[in-house]
Point group: C2
Chain length 199, copies 2
Amino acid sequence: MSEYILPIARLIECFRRLPGVGAKSAARMAFGVLDMSEAEAEEFCRAIMSVKRDVRLCSVCFDISDTDVCAICSNPNRDPHTICVVEDTRTLSALERAEEYNGLYHVLGGAISPMNGITPDKLHIKELVTRLSDGTVTEVIIATSPNIEGETTAVYLSKLIRPLGVKVTRLAYGVPVGADLEFADSETLARALEGRREF
Amino acid sequence: MSEYILPIARLIECFRRLPGVGAKSAARMAFGVLDMSEAEAEEFCRAIMSVKRDVRLCSVCFDISDTDVCAICSNPNRDPHTICVVEDTRTLSALERAEEYNGLYHVLGGAISPMNGITPDKLHIKELVTRLSDGTVTEVIIATSPNIEGETTAVYLSKLIRPLGVKVTRLAYGVPVGADLEFADSETLARALEGRREF
């Protein structure tokens, strides 16, 4: 039996399902909710449901968006000749924070990992190839994570895209190997973009 | 402007209001919500609102409860002759985890801190005195925190309760079990020496 009364125990359980949350911080947060006003708790719930209901994927780049085409894809000041391919939204956000890149993005939705059932057809690779078909894009920068799945994905993509006559580059090593891209600091990401090499 | 789209940014803001949550973990949790199923998100919201709506204070000890009288106060196997006075529910839970105490509790709802406007009348002290009036309770164990506010509260309570003919004790000060002596602070070591026991 839990040491807490049922409503608290249930909320702790919900918090524990979130990434990176252990028993102690889940309990601390549940008591934080208890200390909220009812209005704040309602706002919290509205924010949770809004994330589930209003967030969709951009129909062009597959980044999360609250509009059909995301703010980056619909921004006329972004360079339409370059696409940076990332695994997920958080990597995209990390690159945006580096303020070094002004092209477009393409979010794969993961990295190739046959062990976990993630084959190329599970990712938005087909749609990337379609985006390259009209000749506007002259360079694809591959910014997958520097781990086995990311490397596999990078090699797969470069083999797929080079025959289309598009230059394929990737982030320079400068990103610490084995780390998760989303946690890289802005300076490291900026250097990695600046020193990108051709595949 | 936030680097995230509005629904995510709003949810991050809500998570950041919780105790001990910084920007990075708030973002990680918001993306965790994004990865939840809609059913899980709804369950999360129900759990939040349930904590706000179903949790009240026990009418006897003022611990949080989902019933009028909490499970400890209504448990006939708990010793009704001893009351352990704590500042809050989390301290009560910590003591329950220690599985050493089988009496009742009284939750003050904080500690005396005139600087923060917490005077004795803001705490459930009057109700504690009422509980002592019928002579059932023979010992009150004061388990307030070992800091200035907790000490002030302990001294205040002992002066109030002793004249009622009830034995007043407090938790022993000493070195925490399992800790390295070299890291113990001087104040703790002084108290541990002062309260030494014969082998």
